[in-house]
Each structure stands twice: as C-alpha cells, then as structure tokens.
C-alpha cells in the first residue's frame, strides 16, 4: 500500500548524475552530542543517504536531470538533525528544489522529502490521515521528539527501506477500504508541475525589479494575503494540522458530485464522453481500461461524436466501473466524462446508438440461437428484429468481424465464430446469470 514503487520506477528512469560537492559542514551551534566525532551511545545520528525520497511532481518532467548531493548539508525542518540534502531543477523553467526533511522523518509520515505530500496519493498528510483515520500525535519538541525519532529510525532499519514507519506501519494495507478509495478519487491523476514554478518576485511586487526579462522569479500579482493558502508552514503540513491546503481539498471533495446509478436495474451501459477528435482514443484504449471492472458485452465508439458506450454483462461490473472511473478516468491525458447510458429499450429498436450489428454470415437470418433453458427469465425482448437491438440481458457478442480482418465474410465462405476469435478476450457469449 504505502510503497515507494512510483519513486523506484522513476529512479530507474532517471540518469542521475550525483555530484559530490565537498562543502565544509559548519558547526551550526549544535549540542555537543551532535558532534560527529564524539561518541555518545544515545547521540543523534547524522543521516547519510544515496538517493532522495521524492514524489513524481517534485522530480519534474525531465527524465534526464542532474542532482547535487550535499552530505550533511542541511538541517531537517522537523527533527533538526543534519541530513544529506539534494538539490535539482525539476524540468525546464522550474525553480531549483531541495530536500527539506530527513529521510527518517519522511518515512515516518510516508511523505515526499521536499513537498511533504503523501507519496502514494500526492495529498497533504491531514487529508490522508483524515481518510484513513490515522491518529498519531508524535512528540514535536525537544528530547521527546529526539527519542521518538531515534526509536523510529531503529525500527525502520529493520525493514527494506521501502515501508513507512510511524502510525502508517500499524494499519493494514487494505487497498479496497473506503478511505483508500476516497483518497484515490480525490488524488490527482497526473503530476502537478505548476507547483515547481518559480516564486513570485518580491521586488516586482514592490514595483522595483530592475531585472526585467532576465529575472528568474515570476513577475505576477501576489496572492491575496487574506487567503488562508498564503499562510502555510512546513511543520503544520508535516504534522497534519491546520493545513490550509488540506482544508481546501477536503472542502472540494465534499462538494464533489457523485454518480447515482439508475433505478432501472437492467441498465448496464455507461456513456463515456470527451474522447476528443476521431481516432484520439480508440476502442482498444477504452477496452483496455474498462475490462478491469468486468466482462464487457459491447463497446461502441462513436468517433464523430467523440463518445462511446460501454455495456457490461453484469450490473455489478457496471456499477463498479461507474464508481471507480467517474471523475477519475484519464486516458492519453484526456479526462473522460462518465455517465450512465440510457437503456436501449427506451431508445427504440432503431439501434441509434451507432454501429449496427451485422448479421452473422452463413447463418439463417433468424434470431441468435440461444437455448430456451438458458434464456433468462423475466426478460422481455424489446424487439423481434434480433439484429438491430439485442435484448439487454442476453449476451449477444458483437459478432460482426472487424473490417480489418476483411475478406472472410465477404463471400460468406467461412463462418465467423466469436468463440474462436482470439481477439475477443474471454467473451464467449455467455448468458447472464440473474441477480
């Protein structure tokens, strides 16, 4: 659940040049026990690390980047111990970022070392803890905190370094829990690189920036000082209290619309809109996405209108697909809209929803042969014309062979058997079990 998988994948992608800069570590007025040389069995350790723990956003969009490593180069903003600081530019036009927390503090909360957002979801600690009902009141000051961090560090040293510590280690990794689902719904689907933009030029705000074009800072109007978002601090974000960003996200999540499944239980069709220009997102992309929720009966893409209809074989699959993909589905960087489809029976037997279902060649033009015993009871067939609108519960596979495999059906010489089509994953034209 709380793994650093994304980061580790990213590590593999990056060609990273770590330059070791020997910077004289100044004694910054640490206590005696903080000295590297003095041995004190209860002393605070100085953290050395090879690679930072970062989120996708903080790493930026450039797969090739250079990082500067500064051994014991900064003081952790939470535990105040020296740690190995990394500095890099996350992509073109971004400001240089550096790590602010030590790795132990980052692992205790499972957060990015720089932005202090959760590594799994990219959400503030407060939002995550609220959703997963985590309550940990870590000691925040003095020797209590030092003792806590020391113990956590010892516990973390027994793991493989990819698991979080603190309260997160104690809760299970139930990815199907409601809290987890909630977090996945409100999390961003793509990295938010605007967060890496340079800061606003303070001279420009005063109206006296003389650097003009070559000023590396942003020449923009400052945010409203009354806005709670302009009053954030690291410790609050880390400990997850009074975080204005979290407040905003939680309020937005409350106002987020949800998709109510229609009362008519026979509806298993979802409308997928916003496919963009014809050919941007093809049937395969949609099938690859929607297949995970259950078996798809039909998938009609209306390229001209930029929408598609996905019909599932079961209502449960359709409901799950609607719930999991509403406001979340993102294919090829397009946010698609999901709505429940109108039952075909109400639309009439004209088959207005797009591609007409072609008759199976070399078969008599009667209805698709389904044994009477297998036909679900209580389902009224909407039309006598079997090819235009198949009954909603009867699984009539899209028997028309694809145009790409053309030639087979032209002469009617070979019969097209859906069950023998390797392209049709798992769909065998089964009859739906009554729920």
């Amino acid at each position: 659940m709380f793994s650093y998988s994304e980061t580790s994948i990213r590590i593999a992608q990056i060609i990273l040049f770590l330059v070791f800069i020997s910077i004289w570590v100044k004694q910054r007025g640490f206590k005696m026990s903080m000295s590297m040389s003095s041995y004190n069995y209860n002393r605070k350790t100085w953290e050395d690390s090879e690679f930072p723990i970062l989120c996708e956003t903080c790493l930026g969009n450039n797969p090739y980047m250079r990082m500067v490593k500064d051994k014991f180069g900064a003081e952790c903003k939470i535990c105040e111990r020296p740690f190995t600081c990394f500095r890099w530019q996350p992509g073109k036009g971004a400001r240089y970022k550096k790590t602010e927390l030590c790795q132990t503090c980052a692992k205790i909360k499972n957060v990015c070392q720089t932005c202090m957002f959760d590594l799994e979801f990219g959400l503030p600690v407060q939002v995550r803890d609220h959703a997963l009902q985590i309550t940990d009141d870590l000691p925040k000051e003095g020797v209590n905190r030092d003792y806590f961090v020391q113990n956590q560090e010892r516990m973390l040293s027994h793991t493989d370094g990819t698991t979080p510590g603190g309260a997160l280690a104690n809760i299970g990794t139930d990815t199907t829990s409601a809290g987890y689902e909630y977090l996945k719904r409100i999390a961003r689907t793509t990295p938010y690189y605007k967060r890496n933009a340079p800061h606003i030029c303070s001279f420009f705000v005063k109206g006296e920036c003389k650097r003009g074009e070559e000023c590396p800072y942003r020449h923009e109007k400052p945010t409203d000082p009354d806005d709670p978002l302009s009053n954030q601090n690291m410790r609050d974000r880390y400990y997850g209290n009074n975080d204005p960003v979290a407040e905003k996200i939680l309020n937005r999540a409350k106002a987020m619309p949800s998709l109510q499944p229609p009362d008519d239980k026979s509806v298993t069709t979802l409308y997928v809109g916003g496919l963009g220009p014809d050919g941007t997102i093809n049937e395969k992309d949609l099938r690859d996405f929607f297949y995970q929720y259950g078996e798809i009966r039909t998938l009609n893409v209306l390229g001209v209108k930029g929408c598609a209809f996905v019909t599932y074989t079961t209502r449960e699959s359709a409901e799950m697909a609607a719930e999991r993909s509403f406001n979340r589905i993102n294919i090829k960087n397009r946010r698609l809209t999901i709505r429940w489809g109108i039952p075909q029976a109400q639309k009439g037997a004209t088959g207005s929803e797009g591609r007409p279902i072609n008759p199976v060649p070399s078969l008599p033009t009667t209805s698709f042969p389904v044994p009477e015993s297998l036909r679900p009871t209580g389902v009224k067939r909407p039309s006598d014309s079997p090819f235009v609108a198949p009954p909603s519960k009867l699984v009539v596979p899209s028997v028309a062979p694809k145009a790409g495999r053309g030639g087979d059906d032209a002469g009617g010489s070979r019969i097209y058997y859906p069950s023998q089509d390797p392209q049709r994953l798992g769909a065998k034209g089964d009859v739906l079990e009554e729920d």
Binding site: F17, V19, I21, R66, V68, E213, E214
Partner: protein, 147 residues
Amino acid sequence: MSIATKLRRIRKTPPEGWDLIEPTLEEFEAKMREAETDPHEGKRKTETLWPVFRIHHQRSRYVYDLYYKKEAISKELYQFCLDAKLIDGQLIAKWKKQGFENLCCLRCIQTRDTNFGTNCICRVPKSKLDAERVIECVHCGCRGCSG
C-alpha cells in the same frame, strides 16, 4: 594601477606609436577607476564586478583589434602592451582560437569552477538556447558570446 605606474614598473621606453593609443588607454583607465569606486548599493552581489570585467574586455579588445585586425600598430608596441600588462594576454590567446573569437572573460570558460564541469551559460550558442529566454551570466553579465 595607473598606466604611469605600469610604465614605470616595466622600465622601458614605449615604442613608436605609443602616443597614438595612449589617450584611449588612459580613457579606459579612468573608466575602470570609476567602476571600481562605484557604490554597490542596489546591486546584486554578482552584479558588482560586471563593469570591471566589461572594461577589461574592451581594453584588451581595442589593442587586439589594432594589431591583428586593422594592423595599425607595430609588433613592438603590441608586445610592449602585453609586457606592461596593459592588456590581458591570456584572454587574447583565447580569442585566436576558433569558437572563442568573442569570449567575454576567462571565468566563463573555467569549468573547474562549476558543479557539473560545464562552461558558463553565455558560452551556449543562441541556436541551442530558447529563443525567448534572456540570459545574463553571473560572472561578467555577458549576454552570450558564442554566436
């Protein structure tokens, strides 16, 4: 160091044509003096030395052009300027190399001074940079000296 002091140090009489270039060099010297005494208030830390680098470049460039481009001064006079350290011989040595014809200063090609062993941003050709991006290097305020 004023020109008079430099001449006294080298203990040679200036060769033929010295009085032709002397007023210009005096002018550069005065400008340099002005740049040195200029107050630093309101400037960024890096900006303070930029005028010094610029005048130094212009002065060397002036003598370099007179000797190599216009061929207006004698070899003796050119050598005298070098010996008296009125101009920067090492900078001129770079100008003779291909690709370094307009080099702004020696710090900008000192790769050992940078984290990743690179040249200064002003050494990147304009064609390799973003068209809309304005650059000003931190060493000497150069806006691009590499074509």
